[in-house]
Amino acid sequence: MSEKKILIAAEQPIAGSALKKSLGMTSADVVFEVRESEIRGRGGAGFPTGIKWNLAGAASGSNKMVICNADEGEPGTFKDRYLIENYSLKLLEGMTIAGYAIGSSHGIIYLRAEYPYLIPVIEKAREDLIRENLLGENILGKDFNFDIEIRPGAGAYVCGEETSLIESLEGKRGVPRNKPPYPVNSGYLFRPTVVNNVETFAAVPHIILNGAEWFQDLGIGDCTGTKLFSISGDIENPGVYEMPMGSSIGELLEAAGAQDVQAVQVGGASGATITADELDRSLSFSDLPPGGSVIVFNSSRDMIDVLENFIEFFVHESCGQCTTCREGNVRLQDAVRLIRNGEISSMEELEPFFQLAEVMKIGSKCGLGQTSPNCFIDIVTKFIDLPAGKGGV
């Protein structure tokens, strides 16, 4: 697969050029361009960014907000950190364009608690941009003000969920809200709010400069643009890779030098776990939703250990608000223990737990509880040998 790099390419557009171009357009045209690019949110859920901006722009309410989700709490994900470390000018520029597009003059970066060393990096970029009149008052001489503040995260994985993040920003306990209302209508302090991932904002200047069509052509089919992946686990070259959307998982593994593959976890703990037979599946919203992280497990790994770790993570990270997630993950943990101890020997005995997993997926309040059973379903059905025979899919 071609090295189609834009986000982390050696050559980067001049800082401010995309903003300059945006300010020459109407805000509606900026939203239109982003919408035409068909870029979908890079934070995991994959909501079309242009539609989100359109909704926030059209929402009634003053003091609209642009929030960058830099909480990056998914285990094995470090692509946002990489972007901030190396391309923070572009992130701030993307946020500023969003501010112009939806009519907001205030941006917040919600930065993962473990990334305090990135604060000076962002601050410096901010000061540089202000000096260049690319941020602050009357940007580029126009009647447009926008500034960005950095707020440290609360340290919980669930605070990466956008409504939980907003609660946390409001100084409350970081637990997800009921939706509707969605943040685009009523977010931070009830104001219309756009929340986007670091990578989503970072892609925006490229879209503005090169056009929606160019961005579409970078990807495959309806999966437009490129995507960053943090690869870790049993591979030779762990790190951040940029690939066109829709690339196969095999191509990505090849780039990272994976030799012995038993299983690949795509999209973090809450994503899908696939076998070595499924490496031609594509990294796309229609197949394997490409969250930030890809973790490779070689044949020496006992997958029940892997599963136990993931479930433990969810038991620990559930905010504890809703029954299905708070209690459900504990019961899935029970099931893993029962399997390990040989107290569950057949698929029939696991039936209540698969049912539970289904109810968690469709009955939990936020993405955490809705996706936490994925690893259980995938690993148990594909990797675990029960005394009465392997389950099979």
């Binding site: 306990r173 029954t323 029970d334 009955g363």
Partner: protein, 591 residues
């Protein structure tokens, strides 16, 4: 909002746009199980009990928070929904200390009821019940987190209805608990002991500190003379607590208590009338101080003092306004002080042998009776406080058939009451009773409201205001009030009290007299009343209270013959020396 049509289980129903699926199902007559939902509170959507299927949705919908949209098609008992509900119940029960027979809420528990309704007879999930963790130190309220389902109804109650906010979810994941700041006991935080959280808890995780045992022991002790007093709101709650329809049941209540083996059954309404006489005179004297003597030290508006939850609230939150609070003790404590002095004399009994028990719609009264100031009789003025629910339990235990029992009358000396005393049980009642008496004292005429019903202070509005202009011709000695417009306000629920107090503190209120009840609806919605509670239930109890008032011969406190006798024989005059010794008190600033 216009009406839209939605399909519920295939049947087209017309509902207002924007109502929740739960409300829409209610309109269509379809029952949806709920746990975290409560009609008095904001929507939490955390228990996931009310899951329903919406055509075209990837996930199930939460009926209690999701608004309907045009042509939405809802299924409320599809296979998916049934599985989900049963799973939610099993998950809750798996970590629940479900030994129902030892639980306060056995047979009146929403979790138990739903488990039964959904036929949960076995649980495939391994159970790991939380260990019992009863916190016993607070005089009014106990908690047992092992029965808590984390619905946050208590948290929302304390914050939204009471503006107290001392309980919160703490921690996360499966170790979340409802707790206080630094996990202190309720006794060591500004909890008002109002018990509003208790009556909104769906399970047995919150309950009153029970005093049933010592009361039985007193009744069973032949050397004790057990005197019961019953608060106004108990008579409109007791039938309900015994599983009967909401209605007033004064005569049956008296008979049933007597049936327990109690020596005297007397009425808190009597001391409610007494409160009106004392408080009415206190108000008039404060007005005189302010209007005639221009005495700067007189604190106005004067505020009522009969709700101990409210007193504790103001002691914690607005101590600078304590001089505004009437020095009158609550009717319960006036009764207690008189029981071991006046009544002991009338009955010729050693006060040391009297056990004074009050039946209250309130958990804060349990706290109030423990206040060190409440020993003016030389003894503990009130020994035990039972809630309406606890009395119902004793009646049940004694095997008394409340439906069949013949009505009886209160005993004498402190058993007479008037309609004015009865309406103390409803928000606005103290104000109305005070106005009925004060107006007549100062003007010599009955208050000019049809049938003595002071409608502007009645009803469920959170804050009510009224202005009453005195006639030009006043009774002798009260000429200074001629033509004066008396401005009053009434608030119920501490969140409303807070709004009023903020106004008073900011100097933005020109009231003369304010009535505050800690509990929504007044005492009839008290923390010791039957569970559940809702606006409709409180409305029905209110109707019963006013029906009782209308049915009584005497409607004005000063007309109570036993009150007249009490002053003639014992107290001599309102605000006199004996009154000051026994019936008035002071307050303290609390952190």
């Amino acid at each position: 909002m216009p009406n839209i049509s939605v399909k519920i289980n295939g049947i087209i129903t017309s509902v207002r746009e924007g109502v929740t699926i739960l409300d829409a199902c209610g309109t269509a007559g379809v029952d949806i199980p709920t746990l975290c939902y409560h009609p008095d509170l904001s929507l939490a959507g955390n228990c996931r009990m009310c899951l329903v299927e919406v055509e075209g949705w990837r996930t199930l919908a939460i009926a209690c928070v999701t608004p309907v949209t045009p042509n939405m098609a809802v299924l409320t008992h599809s296979k998916k929904v049934r599985h989900a509900r049963r799973t939610v119940l099993k998950l809750l029960l798996a970590s629940h200390n479900a030994n129902c027979s030892e639980c306060e809420r056995n047979k009146n528990c929403e979790l138990q009821e739903l488990a039964e309704k959904h036929n949960i007879t076995n649980n495939e999930y391994q159970t790991s019940p939380k260990p019992e963790s009863i916190e016993e130190v607070s005089p009014g309220i106990m908690r047992d987190n092992s029965r808590c389902i984390l619905c946050t109804r208590c948290v929302r109650t304390c914050e939204e209805l009471q503006s107290v906010a001392v309980i919160k979810p703490v921690g996360r994941s499966s170790s979340v608990t409802i707790s206080t700041f630094m996990d202190r006991s309720l006794n060591d935080v500004p909890c008002t002991q109002c018990g509003q959280c208790v009556i909104r808890c769906p399970t047995g995780a919150l309950f009153e500190t029970s005093e049933i045992r010592p009361v039985w022991e007193a009744i069973e002790n032949p050397d004790k003379f057990v005197v019961f007093q019953t608060a106004p709101a108990v008579r409109v709650g007791l039938a309900e607590a015994l599983g009967l329809p909401i209605d007033r049941s004064t005569g049956q209540m008296v008979a049933a208590i007597r049936g327990l083996g109690v020596d005297r059954v007397l009425d808190t309404d009597f001391t409610a009338d007494l409160t009106i006489i004392e408080e009415g005179h206190e108000l008039i004297s404060r007005l005189k101080g302010a209007l005639v003597d221009n005495d700067e030290s007189v604190a106005l508006p004067m505020m009522t003092s009969c709700s101990p939850g409210w007193i504790k609230f103001i002691e914690h939150k607005y101590p600078e306004l304590l001089p505004n609070v009437s020095t009158c003790k609550s009717p319960q404590q006036m009764f207690g002080a008189l029981a071991k002095t006046y009544l002991a004399g009338k009955e010729v009994i050693d006060p040391a042998s009297i056990v004074s028990v009050s039946v209250m719609p309130c958990t804060a009264k349990k706290f109030e009776k423990e206040r060190p100031e409440m020993r003016d009789s030389g003894y503990k003025d009130v020994d035990y406080v039972l809630t309406t629910r606890e009395l119902a339990r004793m009646i049940d235990e004694a095997g008394i058939d409340f439906e069949k029992i013949e009505e009886e009358k209160f005993d004498r000396w402190m058993g007479d009451s008037t309609g004015a005393g009865v309406i103390f049980g409803a928000t606005g009642g103290v104000m109305e009773a005070a106005l009925r008496t004060a107006y007549e004292i100062v003007s010599g005429h009955e208050i000019p409201f049809d049938g003595l019903n002071v409608e502007p202070v009645r009803g469920m509005e959170g804050i009510k205001e009224a202005a009453i202009t005195m006639p030009e011709k006043m009774a002798t000695g009260f000429e200074f009030l001629a033509g004066v417009t008396l401005k009053v306000a009434v608030a119920h629920g501490l969140a409303n009290a807070k709004i009023l107090m903020d106004k008073v503190r900011a100097g933005e209120a020109d009231y003369h007299f304010i009535e505050i009840m800690a509990c929504p609806g007044g005492c009839l919605g008290g923390g010791g009343q039957p569970i559940p509670t809702s606006p409709e239930i409180r409305q029905k109890r209110t109707e019963s209270i006013y029906a009782e008032d209308a049915a009584l011969h005497f409607r004005k406190s000063h007309a109570n013959p036993e009150i007249q006798l009490l002053y003639a024989e014992f107290l001599k005059e309102p605000l006199g020396q004996k009154s000051h010794e026994l019936l008035h008190t002071h307050y303290i600033k609390r952190d």
